[in-house]
């Protein structure tokens, strides 16, 4: 339904970001994430196959070590599709770009993450443009091997595939931060600095509750970045991702410039500061001018009707100390500092045993004492047989029994490693023939053999940054209090709730039961359950 193959310019691109609503199938112009291997993700903007591209007859092509993938094979397919590599006609391109391709292969992820974009920029040679749609794009021929998967963009895959300009905040941290600073649909969030936009993409998903129409307040991210190139790069990305109306990026030094937009308040209730000196920006994030609370002209960037939740993200403890001190003095409460340790686990089959199939994953030593014992016994028996035979047939033997045993054992060990599949221990070593692996002696297919184990990834991130959280309640003036007091006047006789003494509780329960009689059965049962719970809770629920 949307596999339109016609070239689409940006203005015609789908309005809703593929990050927020990717649709069922891939589309021209959309960002897609190619998954080359589990942890190797590569972003690509899908281009319409309009004639030759960069020397390829098939149009734009992504080259990976798993083969070549013309964009045309990746457009209009369901997300998540496995894409086969194609035999591409490099034509004139082959020689020209060979060096570049090699380079990208060698440099691995970083290089390949940008290579597609480089090509995009090169593409507009006049010849190609003139070809336009008339130039028949060469029909694609599937290659014999190689494939990738094409994933819809999400902040998670974007974070691990985006072109890094700075350190970025990864999923374990941002997922926790967004939960704690209550970034939800409809929230307005301030972020500084934008950096590479990793956190921005995660936060816009959290606050998104529809694209705003004129004058409408919707969930939105106000992001600030003072590094000019990063600012421009990110603005371009936001546009390409159709996020530009949801993330408002400002080129500014927030220490001096603060967080207002054209002098007006963004009315934020969630804040994330990933800056070298967050405490220098904090005074802007107050309810009133901290230096002069009477200052009527001072505008707060915070939502005056809501509590504000902040998180600052700093790698060093000294930064934390300064930030926390500033937060205390600026009236923030519930100050809390944590760091997040994330670990990934791999699962595998641990295969130990003398009789397991032979391959590199297997530890061909005894699985247990019984197996060791059986093997030793067997060796012993064989040795005796052998010795007896030798005695009979060969009198030249030097009679050094010990030496003979040792020699045998050595051979055994060698053989044991090489040959797992045989029940009988063979003394003569022959190169293992593949057939012997066909059915492991355990009778189990390979993937079910051995014990399932988990182990941590080989390298773990032990420290990312310290996360400081705090809350700033909304301002509450005496007038506010007077209004609330008038709306909720204290009236006379009152029932006590909360911590009440035993007698009162019993009396209430009795009344409760009386009221309950005559109600429907279901209701009665529900109440009984409730009472049981209350009773149980009553014992433990005393305030310490």
């Amino acid at each position: 339904m949307d596999g339109t193959m016609a070239p689409v310019t940006r203005s015609q691109a789908p309005k809703i970001s593929p990050f927020l609503e990717p649709g069922k199938t891939t589309k021209v112009g959309s960002l897609a994430i190619l998954q080359l291997s589990r942890d190797n993700l590569q972003p690509v903007y899908l281009k319409a196959p309009a004639g030759k591209h960069d020397g390829y007859a098939e149009g734009a092509v992504v080259n990976t070590r798993y083969g070549s993938f013309p964009h045309s094979t990746m457009i209009g397919v369901p997300w998540g599709s496995q894409i086969r590599a194609s035999k591409v006609d490099t034509g004139s391109r082959g020689r020209n770009n060979k060096r570049k391709r090699d380079k990208s292969d060698d440099n691995g992820r970083e290089a390949s993450a940008t290579v597609t974009e480089e090509k995009t920029e090169q593409e507009s040679t006049p010849a190609e443009v003139n070809d336009g749609s008339t130039a028949a794009t060469k029909k694609v021929v599937a290659d014999v091997s190689g494939f990738i998967h094409i994933l819809p963009p999400t902040p998670e895959v974007w974070t691990s595939s985006l072109p890094h300009r700075t350190q970025v905040v990864y999923t374990p941290d941002y997922s926790y931060v967004l939960h704690r600073i209550r970034a939800r649909p409809g929230s307005v969030l301030i972020e500084a600095g934008a950096g590479s936009g990793s956190f921005s993409h995660a936060s816009v998903r959290a606050v998104y509750n529809g694209y705003p129409t004129e004058g409408e307040r919707k969930g939105k991210v106000y992001s600030f970045e003072f590094h000019e190139q990063r600012y421009h790069k990110m603005n371009k990305e936001l546009e390409e991702h159709n996020l530009d109306s949801l993330v408002h990026l400002t080129h500014r030094d927030v220490y001096n410039g603060g967080f207002l937009i054209d002098g007006k308040s963004p009315e934020a209730e969630a804040i994330f500061l990933d800056l070298p000196a967050p405490w220098e920006a904090l005074h802007h994030l107050s309810r009133r001018n901290p230096k002069n609370p009477q200052d009527k002209d001072w505008v707060s960037p915070l939502n005056p009707r809501k509590s504000a939740h902040i998180c600052t993200f700093s790698p060093c403890i000294e930064q934390v100390t300064k930030t926390v001190s500033a937060l205390r003095r600026l009236g923030w409460v519930d100050i809390d500092m944590v760091e997040i340790a994330n670990r990934k686990y791999h699962t595998s089959r641990e295969r130990v045993g003398l009789n397991l199939s032979m391959d590199r994953g297997v530890n061909n030593s005894a699985r247990d004492v019984d197996e060791a014992l059986a093997r030793l016994t067997e060796i012993e028996t064989r040795f005796r047989e052998h010795a007896a035979k030798s005695k009979e047939s060969d009198d030249e033997m030097d009679g050094d029994d010990d030496g003979l045993i040792k020699r045998h054992e050595k051979k055994e060990q060698k053989g044991g490693k090489k040959r797992g599949g045989d029940k009988k221990v063979k003394i003569d070593h022959k190169p293992a023939s593949p057939e012997s692996f066909e059915t492991p002696a355990s009778g189990m297919p390979l993937w079910m053999e051995g014990r399932l184990i988990t182990r941590g990834e080989p390298e773990i991130k032990t420290h990312t940054s310290y996360l400081v959280f705090a809350t700033l309640p909304r301002e509450w003036t005496e007038e506010d209090e007077a209004t609330a007091a008038a709306r909720h006047p204290v009236v006379g006789e009152q029932k006590v709730i909360g911590v009440v003494d035993k007698a009162a509780r019993k009396q209430e329960r009795r009344e409760q039961l009386q009221k309950a009689t005559g109600n429907r059965k279901a209701r009665r049962m529900e109440r009984a359950a409730e009472l049981a719970v209350t009773a149980e809770g009553g014992a433990s629920g005393v305030v310490p």
Binding site: L20, V144, L151, P152, R343, T347, V362, E481
Partner: protein, 681 residues
């Protein structure tokens, strides 16, 4: 989420002891915090969250305590004073820091209380309870003074030493006593809103962690993000078919699969905690916010109450009771009930006029579908957000139009489910008119139930869900067997488990050897089956799941370590909650290509490591090499090698790998070598 405390809202009261009390703020009652004092509930109504209040002494004119808002400067006075001290003095002695603390809060009272909260001593006063005093040796006092890593203890020491009455007795066993800096301090509390983060923390740390399967804040973050749970688009309600009462199921609205968007599938054995977390991320947990100040007022006035009461008699069951605040809330006293009753917080809103029997109340977008193993889902915790799935006439709540639920039977064998398979009753208008009201009610109820069940089951079975999130005690393999086909391509799967074992077993279903065997056509059962048939693979012993239906399988865990940040005393907390760490399985739904797909890698494998127990000579004789994953390639290679002898060689380039999708990033061969070296050691 409201920023002002509304009548009947569930809130958390954070007490000086560090514990939280979760309760409903019922208008015109007195809230008792036990020894922390009691005050009229109306004094916090309409006030903002996160403020700290102090319960004042009763004045002679009034028979209740008023509240005072404690400014943040007062809350932080001690830390700020210490900081200033530390700044002025590079290496402050503990003693001098204490002097500063006490002067900073001059004019306030210090109280020493025992474990039961009885006041034992007050600064500047006589010892109240002599019997509580225990003697302490001089050495112990000295040690306490030296320790100095706990503000409370420092001040206790200070207090005791400065106290004349205590001086004589030497002093107390400090471990037994707690310092409450002032008498006033004791009676402070902060009101926090019940949102997912605060409620879950309370449930985990103070209430009953097992009820929410030990879900920690970190896990809500991971599951929510990896499950890509977010606002799924503007509501789109299907037009009412306006079926007449004599029309049957043929007039039910058909499922418009293309209109179904932004839908998440969930399996929740956490009493609704997971659903609440997902609903919060989708924007359907809290009622829409209007002008809060005004809303809370109208409700408070006598007329408003009256209005509510006149409305309720038409409703039955829970809703009826909820109208009557007095009665509905008679139970939750003293402690928090396990199942708080729902109370319409938004009574001003009228219940939407009900459509015809076959009208579908659910949005086609931004929905949450839960599959449950009992005939009714257990979502009792949602009552804290005033949602009760069992209430027949529910007051307005966003979940009503966005939460769909069905049983596993309805999903898998709908024909065996009575409410799905029994055709709706029909009757002419005249017939209906002749019936008693109760019979008529029953008639409509049956028809409505039929239409809704039909819609939920059919739309769920139509699949195309945007994601799957689980926190269930059921075997995740069995869940995925039936839910994988329902996921749209590229949709994420995020499964929480308190322990790693079930997730490891699940990940093993997608191991490289399994996938390789599957795709190489070595599984006789798969031969001749179409992709669609394989998507609905029933599973067998060797292949519990179709191993090609997920990509990027990972298991992770996160742990937040909490720190104390104080001048000269910044360090991680000494103890934290133990128990289940919690793990998350994540992956994306893949759409495998038709036919056999060979993987490949255009590079030479680096030397295998010694832990693989293969001699170098043999490695060299192996004709093809593969990119390596530290764990997984071993088995993968084995399969491939095995296959190499049974199948004609497919990869003429001689550079094939059984499955590139799970191999390591080969861009860092040096790193890999290092890792292997480490294993060897």
């Amino acid at each position: 989420m409201h920023s002002l405390i509304r009548p009947n809202a569930w809130v958390g009261l954070k007490l000086p002891s560090g514990s939280t009390k979760v309760m409903q703020i019922i208008p015109n009652t007195t809230i008792s915090l036990g020894k922390y004092g009691a005050f009229p509930a109306n004094l916090v109504l309409g006030r903002p969250y996160h403020l700290t209040f102090e319960v004042l002494d009763k004045t002679s004119e009034e028979n209740f305590s008023r509240l005072r808002i404690v400014p943040a400067s007062e809350l932080h006075a001690e830390a700020i004073a210490e900081e200033d001290e530390a700044e002025g003095n590079a290496t402050p002695a503990t003693g001098s820091a204490n002097d500063a603390v006490i002067t900073a809060t001059e004019g306030e009272e210090f109280s020493l209380v025992d474990e039961k909260g009885n006041v034992v001593a007050r600064s500047g006063r006589e010892v109240i309870d002599d019997s509580a005093i225990q003697t302490l040796t001089q050495d112990e006092i000295e040690e306490l003074k030296r320790e100095g890593n706990n503000a409370g203890k420092d001040v206790i020491t200070k207090l005791m030493l400065s106290h004349t009455a205590l001086d004589q007795k030497t002093t107390f066993s400090l471990a037994k006593y707690k310092l409450l800096k002032t008498k006033k301090y004791i009676r402070r509390f902060q009101v926090v809103p019940i949102d997912v983060a605060s409620f879950a923390q309370w449930q985990l740390e103070e209430k009953d962690a097992s009820k929410i399967m030990d879900l920690r804040a970190e896990m809500f973050g991971l599951v929510g993000c990896w499950g890509n749970v977010h606002y799924g688009g503007e509501d789109s309600i299907i037009d009412d078919p306006h079926s007449r009462t004599d029309q049957g199921e043929e007039t039910c609205v058909p499922i418009q699969t293309d209109e179904l968007k932004g839908r998440w599938l969930a399996v929740d054995d956490t009493c609704g905690m997971l659903v609440a977390a997902m609903a919060e991320r989708m924007g359907v947990l809290y009622p829409k916010e209007g002008n809060e100040e005004e809303e809370t007022t109208t409700e408070q006035t006598a007329e408003a109450k009256q209005e509510v009461k006149t409305e309720t008699p038409t409703q039955n069951g829970t809703a009826k009771e909820n109208g009557d605040v007095e009665m509905a809330d008679a139970v939750p006293e003293t402690t928090v009930p396990e199942r708080p009753k729902t109370t319409a917080t938004n009574k001003k809103q009228k219940v939407r006029p009900r459509g015809s029997d076959f009208a579908i109340p659910f949005s086609q977008t931004n929905t949450l579908t839960i599959i449950h193993s009992t005939s009714q889902p257990n979502l009792s915790l949602l009552n804290y957000w005033n949602f009760d799935i069992t209430a027949p006439n529910h007051p307005p709540h966003p979940l009503l139009n966005h939460l769909l639920n069905l049983t596993w039977l309805q999903l898998l064998k709908p024909e065996l489910d009575t409410s799905y398979s029994t055709p709706p009753p029909t009757a002419s208008a005249e017939e209906l008119a002749s019936w008693k009201p109760s019979r008529r009610g029953n008639f409509h109820r049956k028809r409505r139930r039929f239409a809704r069940t039909r819609y939920i089951v059919d739309s769920t079975r139509a699949g195309n869900f945007s994601g799957l999130v689980c926190a269930s005690s059921m075997d995740p393999i069995s869940i995925l067997k039936h839910t994988l086909p329902l996921l749209s391509g590229g949709a994420p799967v995020a499964i929480y488990s308190p322990s790693i074992e079930p997730l490891a077993a699940l990940a093993d279903c997608f191991s490289v050897p399994r996938r390789t065997a599957w795709t190489s056509g070595n599984v006789p059962e798969t031969v001749g089956k179409s992709l669609e048939e394989l998507e609905r693979w029933e599973g067998n012993e060797q292949f519990p799941l179709n191993p090609t239906l997920l990509q990027g399988v990972s298991i992770h865990t996160s742990r937040a370590r909490r720190w104390q940040v104080l001048p000269m005393r910044t360090h991680p907390l000494m103890t934290e909650r133990g128990g289940a760490d919690g793990y998350v399985f994540t992956a994306w739904r893949a759409k495998p290509a038709e036919g056999r797909v060979e993987a490949r890698g255009k590079f030479k494998k680096i030397q295998p490591s010694s832990n693989k127990k293969a001699s170098k000579a043999e490695e060299e004789s192996t004709p093809v090499e593969t990119p390596a994953a530290v764990e997984e390639d071993d088995a993968a290679t084995a399969v491939k090698r095995k296959r190499a002898d049974t199948l004609p060689p497919l990869d003429t380039e001689g550079a094939s790998t059984p499955e590139n999708a799970a191999t390591d990033d080969v861009a860092s061969p040096t790193k890999k070598r290092k890792v292997d070296g480490e294993v060897e050691v």
